[in-house]
């Protein structure tokens, strides 16, 4: 399946991927409102996490593993492996906020929702035409959406 692959050689640490992520996951679909209002009021958060050390930086998000530890750990069935697309899906309604997935994920790709008892995780921008927003927003092609 196609996944989002970060390239630490060319990640310039601009965080534009995060801004793209919160915009497409916002109610308003507007960067300014999403960042200045929804982020603060509704706890809107980017699915990506930035790792930075010295000159190296990289934007991490869910890897949609073939054999995901989070799905095995999920006690409520909120995290599932979609047999058709191969994506690791998250159903916010089913989630009980036990954080088992957070502890199980070896990549630290799952984050707590800032205000709700839920998690934040990459959904590969399922409904977005043209694929994941972070990949489209990266100015240096440091994120690639491809089969490997």
């Amino acid at each position: 399946m196609k996944r989002v692959y970060p390239d630490k050689e060319y990640c310039i640490g601009c965080h534009l991927c995060e801004l793209a992520c919160i915009t497409v996951h916002s109610k308003s679909q507007d960067l300014i409102i999403a960042y200045t209002q929804e982020r603060l009021e509704d706890g809107l958060k980017a699915c990506k996490r930035f790792q930075e050390k010295g000159p190296t930086c990289v934007a991490l998000s869910c890897r949609h593993c073939d054999d995901p530890a989070c799905v095995a750990a999920c006690i409520s069935g909120a995290l599932q492996k979609d047999p058709e697309t191969g994506a690791t899906t998250y159903d916010i309604e089913k989630c009980v906020g036990c954080w088992s997935c957070l502890m199980a994920c070896p990549y630290g790709a799952i984050q707590r929702h800032p205000t709700l008892n839920k998690i934040v995780k990459c959904d590969l921008c399922r409904d977005r035409e043209g694929g994941p927003a972070c990949v489209a927003a990266c100015p240096n092609m440091a994120l690639k959406f491809e089969e490997r």
């Binding site: 601009c14 965080h15 801004l19 960042y35 010295g54 000159p55 927003a137 100015p139 240096n140 092609m141």
Partner: protein, 511 residues
């Protein structure tokens, strides 16, 4: 300004931040290499310090909401035709530092750009124009010494076959476009851009020039599209290097700084540069002003042939000089010394660092130099013995066409190639902090140039110019770049004096 030198407020740029659009996302802070943007903890918002802005526009380009606009600072001194603000600010700077004024990129001073005063011809009625989309159009260019005449041997009597060429031809560099990427050393620009130039040149079937910093081992595979340079510092020069490329260039001078050497500060010498230049990490790389083994045309002759010996006469040897007053006589000497190519760099040529006084006041424009050299070599009957490359201030495909009509065989482009990958001509290359990741070896900044993107952009630029050159040639009724070379009848001047037209060898428009 508090705690600052009193002239600190005479800064060049102003950052305008639209309060309605700025969301305090800090992208500008992360992008600015000069720390002009900063996070104000007390006010909990992004702010900026105008005095630190160099006008590179990186923040403006990456701002996700378009909240930023970089403007010239409007503060105006009392108008004075003689003491223009630039001279006043320079004096304030030097009074503070006691140092030489450094500058980067080509000279911004208002010296005539003759390209703008030259117009091209087109066919009407009496001769047909050619549509390059429907008919063949040849841009292929061969650089190197051409024979005085060609001799053929006919097939033996009674036998069939084609005549055979018996003249031994000198080695040539074959180019699909009459354009090359000019010498920008590894060190002055970073490795990612060398990879990009090498890949783009290979894809296009043209050449790029290594500059004086040697060639990294991993780029030897692009050798067929590489010209290796030998300059006064001899950085990274060894037998394998000389045999790695399709041509060798002896750099005598550079258009942006004729008569002076180069100085790559130690901070730019990282592991990779050190290994390639064969100097210790962190040591300054100083190129002397002259080659210490060249004090005459005879000495140059020796070096040309030493390099030809070292490369077993397989590749042409080029000599690059800055366009200076006696350029025609010097070029004649260079051709007689055995050079296969003469590259001439005009005074608008770029640089990573040069004293501003030299860059803005020394040398002559490339248009006059090319015309003078081509004419001189023709008058002396030696024009065929060397190709001429025009460098320095080629801004568009029409400039290339005009340069070739004035007598050049091909053009080197440097600044245009850097513009293609994002350069905004802020001219702060010498600080080593290029926010576009070009003139820097800082590992955090240099990765702003992804070779995949840079190579594509450079290749796109040359292809686009290629299409335009074909259109212009077709319009003139020519189907080959060869037919344009030195064909000054295709040029007319507007607004030039008779001396200028005499040197350029062109008639005034209307004649």
């Amino acid at each position: 300004m508090l705690f600052q030198p009193i002239n600190k407020n005479y800064h060049d740029y102003r950052i305008e931040r639209d309060k309605d659009l700025c969301i305090n996302c800090k992208v500008c802070i992360r992008q600015c290499a000069y720390e002009a943007h900063f996070w104000d903890e007390a006010r909990q918002k992004v702010r900026h310090d105008n005095t630190k802005c160099v006008g590179c526009h990186r923040c403006e380009a990456l701002c996700p909401t378009g909240a930023l606009c970089i403007r010239l600072n409007e503060s105006e001194f009392r108008p004075n035709a003689c003491w223009r603000p630039i001279f006043m600010k320079n004096i304030y700077k030097q009074a503070d530092t006691g140092g030489v004024l450094l500058a980067g990129m080509g000279s911004p001073v208002d010296i005539p750009v003759y390209w703008d005063n030259l117009l091209l011809d087109a066919s009407q009625v009496t001769n047909p124009s050619i549509d390059p989309l429907r008919e063949p159009m040849e841009l292929k260019t061969f650089l190197g010494s051409k024979p005085d005449r060609v001799e053929f041997a006919a097939p033996a009597k009674g036998k069939k076959g084609k005549p055979k060429l018996t003249t031994k031809l000198a080695p040539q560099i074959e180019l699909n476009y009459p354009i090359m990427f000019s010498a920008m050393s590894f060190g002055s620009i970073n490795f990612n851009l060398h990879v990009a130039m090498a890949r783009a040149a290979t894809e296009l079937g043209i050449c790029y020039n290594t500059g004086e910093g040697g060639l990294h081992k991993s780029l030897y595979k692009y050798g067929k599209n590489t010209i290796v340079q030998v300059a006064s510092g001899r950085f990274g020069v060894h037998a394998e290097y000389l045999n790695a490329g399709a041509g060798i260039e002896i750099k005598i001078g550079q258009g942006a700084k004729p008569g002076i050497g180069g100085h790559l500060p130690g901070e730019k010498i990282n592991e990779k540069v050190s290994e390639t230049r064969m100097i210790p990490v962190g040591s300054d790389a100083i190129s002397p002003a002259p080659h210490h083994d060249i004090y005459s045309i005879e000495d140059l002759h020796q070096l040309i042939f030493a390099l030809k010996e070292a490369s077993r006469y397989r590749v042409p040897v080029s000599v690059k000089i800055a366009a200076v007053h006696n350029v025609a006589a010097i070029a004649s000497g260079i051709v007689r010394a055995g050079a296969d190519i003469v590259a001439i760099d005009g005074m608008r040529g770029g640089t990573g660092a040069a004293p501003a006084m030299i860059r803005d006041n020394v040398g002559i424009p490339i248009e006059l130099a090319i015309a003078a050299v081509d004419q001189r070599l023709r008058d002396e009957g030696i024009r065929n013995r060397a190709s001429i490359i025009a460098a320095g201030g080629t801004r568009c495909s029409a400039d290339v066409v005009k340069a070739i009509a004035l007598g050049a065989d091909a053009c080197y482009i440097g600044t245009a190639a850097l513009l293609a990958v994002g350069c905004t001509l802020c001219g702060k290359c010498y600080t080593g902090k290029c926010p576009w990741g070009i003139a820097t070896n800082d590992s955090k900044l240099s990765k702003r140039q992804n070779p995949d993107i840079a190579a594509r952009k450079m290749a796109n630029l040359i292809r686009a110019w290629g299409h335009e050159i074909e259109e212009m040639l077709g319009g003139m009724g020519l189907n080959s770049i060869e037919s344009l070379r030195g064909n000054r009848d295709k040029l007319r001047a507007v607004g030039l004096s008779s001396t200028e037209m005499d040197i350029l060898g062109v008639k005034h428009a209307g004649r």
